[in-house]
Subunit: 341 residues, 4 copies
Amino acid sequence: MEHKELRVGLIGAGRMGADHALRLDQRISGVRLAAVADPDLDRAKQVADGTAARAVADPFEIIGDSGVDALVIASPGEVHEPLLLAAIDNDVPVLCEKPLTPDAKSSLRVVEAEEARGKRLVQVGFMRRFDVEYAELKRLLDTGDLGAPLMLHCVHRNAATPPGFTSEMMIYDSVVHEFDTARWLLDSEISAVTVRAPRSSSAAPAGLLDPQIVTIETARGAVVDVEIFVNCGFGYQVRCEAVGEQGTALVGGDSGPVIHRSGQWSGVVTADFRERFGAAFDHEFQRWADAAHQGEVDSAAADVWDGYAAAAACEAGVHAQVSGERTEVELAERPDFYAGG
Amino acid sequence: MEHKELRVGLIGAGRMGADHALRLDQRISGVRLAAVADPDLDRAKQVADGTAARAVADPFEIIGDSGVDALVIASPGEVHEPLLLAAIDNDVPVLCEKPLTPDAKSSLRVVEAEEARGKRLVQVGFMRRFDVEYAELKRLLDTGDLGAPLMLHCVHRNAATPPGFTSEMMIYDSVVHEFDTARWLLDSEISAVTVRAPRSSSAAPAGLLDPQIVTIETARGAVVDVEIFVNCGFGYQVRCEAVGEQGTALVGGDSGPVIHRSGQWSGVVTADFRERFGAAFDHEFQRWADAAHQGEVDSAAADVWDGYAAAAACEAGVHAQVSGERTEVELAERPDFYAGG
Amino acid sequence: MEHKELRVGLIGAGRMGADHALRLDQRISGVRLAAVADPDLDRAKQVADGTAARAVADPFEIIGDSGVDALVIASPGEVHEPLLLAAIDNDVPVLCEKPLTPDAKSSLRVVEAEEARGKRLVQVGFMRRFDVEYAELKRLLDTGDLGAPLMLHCVHRNAATPPGFTSEMMIYDSVVHEFDTARWLLDSEISAVTVRAPRSSSAAPAGLLDPQIVTIETARGAVVDVEIFVNCGFGYQVRCEAVGEQGTALVGGDSGPVIHRSGQWSGVVTADFRERFGAAFDHEFQRWADAAHQGEVDSAAADVWDGYAAAAACEAGVHAQVSGERTEVELAERPDFYAGG
Amino acid sequence: MEHKELRVGLIGAGRMGADHALRLDQRISGVRLAAVADPDLDRAKQVADGTAARAVADPFEIIGDSGVDALVIASPGEVHEPLLLAAIDNDVPVLCEKPLTPDAKSSLRVVEAEEARGKRLVQVGFMRRFDVEYAELKRLLDTGDLGAPLMLHCVHRNAATPPGFTSEMMIYDSVVHEFDTARWLLDSEISAVTVRAPRSSSAAPAGLLDPQIVTIETARGAVVDVEIFVNCGFGYQVRCEAVGEQGTALVGGDSGPVIHRSGQWSGVVTADFRERFGAAFDHEFQRWADAAHQGEVDSAAADVWDGYAAAAACEAGVHAQVSGERTEVELAERPDFYAGG
């Protein structure tokens, strides 16, 4: 009868972590931000400040701590593996920001660890699955209203990249969302990836292959094309048109007030992913917290296998980018434990 | 430092109350549903079931109760006045669903009580102010991007009415939102109301004047027309176009996936106000709870004066509907306590 | 077997006349511009220059001339009556730009003259009936797809007015289109007109009541509201939403390329009526010429009765504007000769 | 001074020819349909019937005939070459429906014949260049408003194919429009073509590879992707999004009335290319006729070199389709006579 809050430990206090701290502290019901861990302790303290959370430098200090019921991992992908293995070992539910880990091999180790544990604990933060429009697109495909799916046309644009952004990161940080979207919407593994690039935009930093067109093939014979353009200049735009045998559905079109002024009709493009997908993040976190309260994972979310499959697609994507060749994706056998799809 | 939850008592366990109970229990952060009051105790129990709340029949039992920090009133407007006066008397923050009270005279008594108390405690549930699109429209008008506002064109449609719905309720329950929207967007009191009706739709129950066109004049010389059509058949639709000296802005257009199928492009119309404005309700409640935590009211919300002004406009609206005449709105002098606008 | 061109005499060589001369000379098939008449002979010559037409000062010189098979009247409304009566007298088909004549009494004399002649010769230039979107809207209303019509919401905006434009002209030159649109779409005569104006835009010339909201009632109980705003600043915009018992249809929304640039999605608003309705004019003229070749009038076009009814509505409209009162429209009995509607 | 009609001979009285006969006879100004030629003389007679045209079986009978000033060729592409060579030889202006000829080698012979003649006489019927939206897109690219172009995303869908339609025809009859569109919009020759197909739709006839995704590279480093789906079921849809360094522009979105009914907002998809591009055909023909009157070709239209370049791209496209390989396009040197681009 007594209503108990889920005490969440946040690992990683960078831009994304700070955003999630705010989310957990102010918008998610039934949750208390209990701890913030970051090797940069000052940063951890800043994020914890004004909340009920304590700040620590060592993330392992809060994995298995009796005052922390569940974890959100928002640190760089490079350090995820040991954190995830420790969390699995300690039976702690985790919402892990993508990527699960930076490469397929290490992701597979997490798959194996969770399977060995015999209990699903880890969820991967592919938040598009929680966007109202994408969820409706998934529903349209699942009901068969559009007929069997044949193609997706995806567009993924950012206004500009931060310093140090590389062509490889365009696959690992950006297209990874389309890899997951394609797998999820089409209910099929990715079998091959090809990358073709027009000449780069003069707005892109020297050396960055921007934009690129990534072509994805799935095991069931669908083809997906993705424009990834991370210095498009005008804002953040994510769009997906699904083409089925009987019709199409498009999400991610323009929304918001329509203004007529100075010889134009117009509206505003969202500035970044936090604005565009803020509600999806909230929805994802609320569902995750509700499930964690019950000792479960959210069945709507991406699981560890999904994280592994995305990592494998990213590896193939970078190979395709560098080689200019169509690159097949090699996957391990899917354990029964992750049945579905 | 210790993070304490706001314990909320909910008064009214009807359809709206049940919806708000769910909201408070599952989606609003920092809040605990502590009590549910409804004269129909069984209904109160049903709503409280599965939450940490206790159920009571008498609402006055929870006003001033030391275990209830704040109140949400979702009971019929007819019983609001004594509840509000008791809450003010007990210094308890209240989020009161519209209407404040059913008529201007009683609303004015609430205004006077709160003013006498010398502290703002009551907020009225005009949730459109918390809708992302309406908020952006307000911003566009306030920045002057559209020039000084001259007109609003509003459309307010429901698929169908429940049994017993009357022409008068079309003003008090439906157009009341446009009264508040007009006052808020145009920052000006309503000075007169006229109602003109075409012949009624054959889909409307006998005796219901449906649709109607309500024309609103404001003190600053703007004119607002409102189509209210509560048996339009196809869904729930709320739209507002603001026309300024330099441009226009339209909110409430179609959204969601665009489907191409069977010779048509199409999309789905939202079914009811809870679907259309669900996120606005959440946003309103979260901000209210955050403010109540600080012992404050949300400055973005409608206050008691706004509730009174809407009640006065409704009275004029019903007079205009019955008489067919342009009806002026008589308002008391606005106390300095409610300065602004 | 031999293909003969329709030799058209154009009366009026102002801006509209010049536009129609170009249309007749270069875009309408089966037609030859044979004569251009304007009291300002130089202007007539300029318009005739480069075509096969001769220029004359006296319009009556070309009415009944054996070298002129049909007439287009684009001179000011004040001089239409004698021209029309002469054309009817000479059995010459006429496409007369609106208004038929400037007042109901004189329009009725044209009705009576044509009826006395016993042959339909005159068509009035309400070009919206030939716009693809309006025609589709008419079709939707006629098929009953939307249910019986209850309301129209119309918007009619111009960027700016030429010098000398008056409040009265807003009715006679602008709203006259909505009067015809309402009669045509709703298949019902106009029974009353009311005009209400917000404070005028600071962009409007001194003395001009701009914008205005014109409310039209029809004999069958529909209500139409029209925003007329002739100094809206941003371009030319004509929009109409029909609301029926089972649904609505909107025409006149934004069209053309959708651009994403500089943080905005946007498109271009058409600059004036010639751009917006140019194709409708072409379509109207081609159908008129094709019918005139057969010695007939185009049954899809507005006839003399329509011109008369519009003139009567304009008179009521100006009365309503000046008096602030709802003003009933008085119509003569409709002759069987103009059966329909 | 005397206004003389352009007497046009039409070669080919199939579906397209019949459509053009109607266009020439009824909608294009300054033109007379003088002759219709088709090996199936009955078909030629049917098309000529009701016009001033005579019907003949042998097309060469009307090439060089003193009663025929200009030619429209709407016969199958296989027979174009000798007709075009004869027209060039006789100095007769020609509007030739696409393709110029079915293969690059024969197209090059036409290029050489026209160059040898030293006078431009032949225009190729790529009508999209005359569509209002495409023309505006071209303007946006030429002014640099979008920055230098990097990509086009094209969609080309038909409801269903007639019997006998082959995968090869998807390139030659359908994608050929995108080849020309890409060359024209991007002002650059096509350098390579790749074709990738998802599994075919169950709605496609056995053996037809439908849909396909065609990737086009241009000499200046732009990349164009084209979805060609000729059994999409729901209607005819042609869409193009240009992506430049500073912004994007999309044409071919949904248009026409927006209907709200039965829980949906919706509109109608055009049924076929004649409905979608009818006005573009009219515009193309009128400009061609106007130019032919002056003994010139329309500089806005596709010329013989454009026809040759499209044929070469089609050859590469079919090779890419069959081989699955990226296929380079080999072009002859462009003669100075066809300078530009």
